[in-house]
């Protein structure tokens, strides 16, 4: 049994039907992990395109990379896969599971919802702009696709370039009627969206101007951060997180609340608040990311200021 005193291991599930681009996303993730030690569980090694120079060691069903990432084959047994991830030493920073094309991602995510040493971070479902509409009507697999859409915290439309603007837009509006609360991205997905912001938000230097606002990633994304000296009650925080305005892809924060300090994450529609006994700094800190021009910064500022002053 591994060390239960570690913070829970965040899990991202990458779901989507065959051909929706899961392997492409994982290849990108492994090639540019940005210093995070990610464990990726895949169905099939054969399709991974890992740069030979990046491979540090290769075992039966495990490939270790020089950037700290590890890649394992699931082998059809989720119990074994999760047990292995939790027993890995050192424990990875993030666990990513590539669901099979017909997997219902909730069945995988439920392990992380149940297991105290895991934390469900995100289910992202990839949607093939060329084929998803036809597949969703297929009598054999249509129900599976709909389930993959419904359980997603974020939806990512892939192959949008191939499909063309019109078809991709049509798909996006169809998806938004099916899943009105789920943010929909197109084309690429940045690592910070897939795995969450890497670091905790910094405390603001100037308490009179607690907001910070910047554009990054070649201006594709926009970032907003906030800090306040007092931490809110956890239930009040939960209410705010459950009613966030649209346009936020990722939000992360810490609050030294009573009865215990917590860490909180939202990933699209998924919310989680977990105890964070290690947090010693005072107050509340938050960072949020959204698409440039789409992040509701004023609304965020208003809600978190109200929350902070109610503390």
């Amino acid at each position: 049994m591994s060390d239960a005193t570690l913070p829970p291991l965040p899990l991202t599930v990458i779901a989507g039907y065959l051909g929706s681009g899961k392997t492409t996303l994982i290849n990108k993730l492994l090639a540019d992990a940005g210093g995070r030690r990610i464990m990726v569980l895949v169905n099939d090694f054969g399709e991974l395109a890992i740069d030979a120079e990046l491979i540090a060691a290769r075992g039966g069903d495990t490939i270790s990379l020089s950037n700290g990432c590890v890649c394992c084959a699931i082998g059809g047994d989720l119990f074994q896969a999760f047990a292995k991830a939790l027993d890995a030493s050192p424990r990875p920073d993030h666990l990513v599971i590539e669901a099979s094309g017909v997997a219902e991602p909730d069945r995988i995510a439920n392990f992380a919802r149940a297991e105290p040493e895991l934390r469900l971070d995100l289910i992202v479902t990839l949607v093939d702009a060329l084929n998803a509409r036809t597949q969703a009507d297929d009598p054999l697999i249509g129900r599976t696709l709909h389930q993959q859409f419904q359980s997603a915290g974020l939806l990512l439309i892939t192959k949008d370039q191939l499909a063309g603007q019109e078809q991709a837009t049509g798909l996006a509006s169809w998806l938004s009627t099916l899943c009105p609360e789920t943010p929909i991205l197109r084309g690429e997905m940045d690592l910070e969206i897939l795995l969450g912001p890497e670091t905790n938000p910094p405390p603001s230097v100037d308490q009179k101007h607690p907001h910070d606002h910047d554009h990054s990633h070649e201006d594709m994304y926009e970032r907003w951060s906030f800090s306040a000296p007092l931490a809110p009650d956890v239930e009040a925080l939960r209410v705010v997180l459950e009613n966030l305005p649209t346009g936020i892809l990722r939000l992360k924060g810490v609050a030294n609340s009573t009865p215990e300090p917590v860490e909180f994450h939202t990933a699209g529609r998924h919310i989680n608040i977990t105890p964070a006994p290690g947090v010693t700094t005072h107050g509340l800190r938050v960072v949020a990311i959204g698409l440039a021009g789409n992040l509701p910064t004023d609304e965020l500022a208003a809600r978190f200021e109200t929350l902070a002053t109610s503390a």
Partner: protein
Amino acid sequence: MSGIKIFNARKIITMDVNRPEATHVAVRGGRILAVGNKAEASSWGEAEIDTRYADQVIMPGFVEGHAHIVAGGIWKYVYTGFHDRMKPDGKSVKAMTTIEDVLAHLTSEERKLEDPDVPLVGWGFDPIFLEGRRLDRHHLDQISATRPIAVLHSNFHLLTANTPALALAQYTKGTNVEGVVLEKDGSPNGELQEMAAMFPILRRLKVDFSDLSKDPEGVRAYGDVARLCGVTTVTDLFAELDDEEVSQLEQITAEPEFPVRLVPALNALGGPAAEIADRALALRPRSTAKLRLGIVKLMTDGAIQGYTAQLKEPHYFKGPNNGIWNIAPEQLHETVALLHSKGIHMHIHVNGDRASEVALDAMEHALAKHPRGDHRHTLQHVQLADRAQFRRMASLGLCANLFANHIYYFGDKHYELTIGPDRANRMDACANALDLGVPLAVHSDAPVTPMAPLFTAWCAVNRQTASGRVLGPNQCISVAEALRAITLGAAYTLKMDGEIGSIECGKRADFAVLGSDPLAGNPRELKDVPVVATVLDGEPTA
């Protein structure tokens, strides 16, 4: 010495059309030399006569075509089921027909544990047969309020834990996790549904089904489970078969006291089809007389009782349609075509009629691309196939291994809840298979239901549910047909019918020895025919 031994019996049921009945069988070097009366059996020369079965009935050793090796290792835990069951050591565990029986048995097992930190784990519990309040943590807390206790239900999809076990998983009041059943006040009541919710407890109590399957004592216990119900050839129909496991199986099956031939099927979900094919082909030549390697198992849908089987219209009767695929239908087409083209012998799990349809389509496509006779691909479970699908099986040369035990154990639930009367009456349609010329076997899927081919045959003959209802009398088959399905029929699905499955000259001398004649008795009592012993390669196994 000639090395010839003759067994005589009250009656020998041979399953050989040329000599259906006999009284003597001569054996040399593990093979059958002669079958007939005393004079005929003695025709090969001087022989030692073994009279130990003189008052009994000899049949070909039974062949269990679909079971799992964990049925051996699971006996490490405490059996808590509603039916009598025999342990691998041959001792019988009495049926526990009330919650009080279950608790009393668990309590007596708990008192035997010296180390207070060792968990108590039960298995085989079946609440649908029990009256009164459903088992919960408060019942189990009566056994111990400090030792973690978990009781696995017979379907392995549910468990009930006591308060200390729930605390290990941090399941407390306020826990809101799918599958964690709550009491009115919001605290967990102890029942956990599906693997995700069970995982934190199983992991902390170190209950690992993969470990149980690979435990050498578990493998030996599996041999004994099979031996005790008359089985001389048994499958393990979903195995990982890494090098370490294969070496261990080679070693254990070579032990002279290991009482059965073992036929593990390689799990095709473990990797890409081309790799699975290569692996199966590499394993095949490592086969021995008692270890047969090379068959492959594919999974399509889930289980009917879990609402995860893939059903055609009109879907489920009462309850949600949660049908799952373990492999995408289009991927199944590719995998089946590739494995077939490489000459692999496949066994495909299909429960619902939509799953069987997809498997039939995949087979048709593979056979059109790579015509090949006598492939013996076998559809496993095939519980809801209609007559049209059986016609397709016949024309594609497929075998059907039907899950006859389901009729007894789950038939009432299928009739009332899952699929409704029409389809419940035609489920596990043995008569359809025989009428239409589909080679037939029947199975237990142990440990899901207990391994006991005579009971399985009884189910196929009587189609009686636990409540006494007869499901679809038109699908009942005769005792002789059912006996064939558990011997030669199952051997055929494993391509072993040339060497086992009947008692005839040249075949391996594998026998099941019975206390009475199943053909002469009342068909309603077929399940009660006692299994006295087995013989493998001419040698009594215990």
